[in-house]
Homo-oligomer: 285 residues x 2
């Protein structure tokens, strides 16, 4: 159970791993890190938000950890656990930040040791840049934290995940099944990235930046996209994502027909609905 | 020619008209307004950014004006000019803020008195709320101002329009033909609104706000939309807008196929292109 003396190990000290480390350190927890580059460890130690770090899978660090958070690409997360789970001390709580859960969490839970537990989480926060140098726990402040338990999880681990979301400073913690999570993420996160990239690449005009307003800038902010991570996320969640793309394109085709047929009444109805629905997202603050 | 003593008349004191009035007043110009509601005039006078105002088409105000700016819906702009152009003093410079120019400006210039001149402009700034109470000239600061001359315009009026963009405090003033303008606006402004509305209305989940990140919020900010103005703008610019919708949906279908076929290499290529193109929009600041 997470308590005041819990020691956290972050595996993968990038944008999200670094932001976790900063938030946990601020709350007074001991924070360790295992990551690929020595420069990331040096940076985090200099900034003072990790206590120890290593670029190798250091048994000494792993044995200290009460909670291990995997901040890796989904495929690496599965591989890492398969290779090194024998090093965990009994009772270690595991969590992750992967943007897709189907095919990842069920796979991990199928081979995981019985004396440790993996509770999947998705911190709905990010930036269009990456690396620990860009980490910032302020990104959690207005954001949502989703706990994604399976039938293999205990009540205690689910409570711990809620507690973790609060420790990290998230605005709201919710719970979804893997299926619900991947459908909703396919919509709110992945579909939005497909839209932004399509918009940014469907017009070859070289001087667009002289003619744009805030609308275009808002809709394309996330068109700056980490090609390795997102191609993996899209393909891992292919089924739900394609369903969402189709629903979106279908709605857009309806609007296209209304414009073509100059059906002002129907257009206005859709705009009123859209305005009403969007207002719910402002109330929250 | 616009000079230090020019008197400006704003016709239509809403979000944009009010923001023009505020900017012009700050620079020391005399500012008059003709608008629909007495409450708008009262508000602007109380705030001190107009000198005189009327809810009727007041000849006394019109005769004082050296420059008249029409901040009306496009259809109303044409009607107003047709009905009241006989009241202008000779040499009056006219300008507007309409989001579509084809079918509007050429129409106006076809019946306009020979001793006054209309130079079309498009201030690429706005908010998802409206009314003079929400006016704010700070919205012009990082924004683009587009001058849209025709072959009927004089060099002097075009220069005046550039000058106006600078007086209002725009970041950049550019020039486009009506055809170029309507194509580009179909893309950067109208297509983005069609996308935002489609995204906001294509999924019926009632609890989305608990699971969204910044991506979804960014992409739907402009889904709060004035149904009267935007249905008119979309239909006035139907041809170019539908071309842009088709180009976008075509690109999105390509991405959909890449995801379905798990074509990681092609996906990465598009993401790299998208990231590179989007970076141009950040450099500007």
């Amino acid at each position: 159970m997470i308590n005041r003396n819990s020691c956290f190990l972050i595996v993968g000290l990038g944008l999200i791993g670094g932001s976790y480390a900063r938030a946990l350190h601020k709350k007074g927890y001991r924070v360790l890190a295992i990551t690929k580059y020595q420069s990331s460890i040096d940076y985090a130690k200099n900034e003072g938000f990790i206590d120890e770090g290593s670029t190798i899978v250091d048994e000494n660090l792993i044995k200290q950890a009460d909670v291990i958070i995997f901040c890796l690409y989904p495929s690496l997360e599965v591989e890492w656990l398969r290779n090194y789970q024998h090093l965990f001390k009994p009772g270690t709580l595991l969590s992750d930040v992967a943007g897709v859960k189907g095919g990842i969490i069920d796979e991990i839970q199928s081979f995981l040791r019985a004396d440790v537990e993996m509770i999947a989480c998705h911190p709905m926060a990010g930036k269009e840049v990456y690396g620990v140098e860009n980490s910032d726990d302020a990104i959690f402040r207005d954001a949502n934290f989703i706990v994604v338990p399976t039938e293999k999880n205990t009540r205690e681990a689910i409570d711990d995940a809620y507690h973790l979301g609060e420790i990290l400073g998230f605005n709201k913690v919710s719970q979804l099944t893997i299926k619900q999570h991947d459908e909703i993420i396919g919509f709110v996160s992945q579909l939005t990235h497909v839209i932004a990239v399509s918009l940014m690449t469907c017009n070859e005009d070289e001087n667009l930046q002289n003619y744009t307003g805030d609308s275009f800038r808002d809709l394309t902010r996330i068109a700056r996209i980490n090609e390795n991570m997102w191609s993996e996320l899209f393909i891992d969640n292919k089924g739900p994502l394609i369903e969402q793309i189709d629903a979106f394109m279908n709605q857009m085709s309806c609007l296209r027909s209304m414009i073509e047929n100059e059906d002002v009444d129907e257009l206005k109805k859709v705009f009123i609905k859209s305005t009403k629905r969007r207002a719910l997202f402002d109330k929250r603050k």
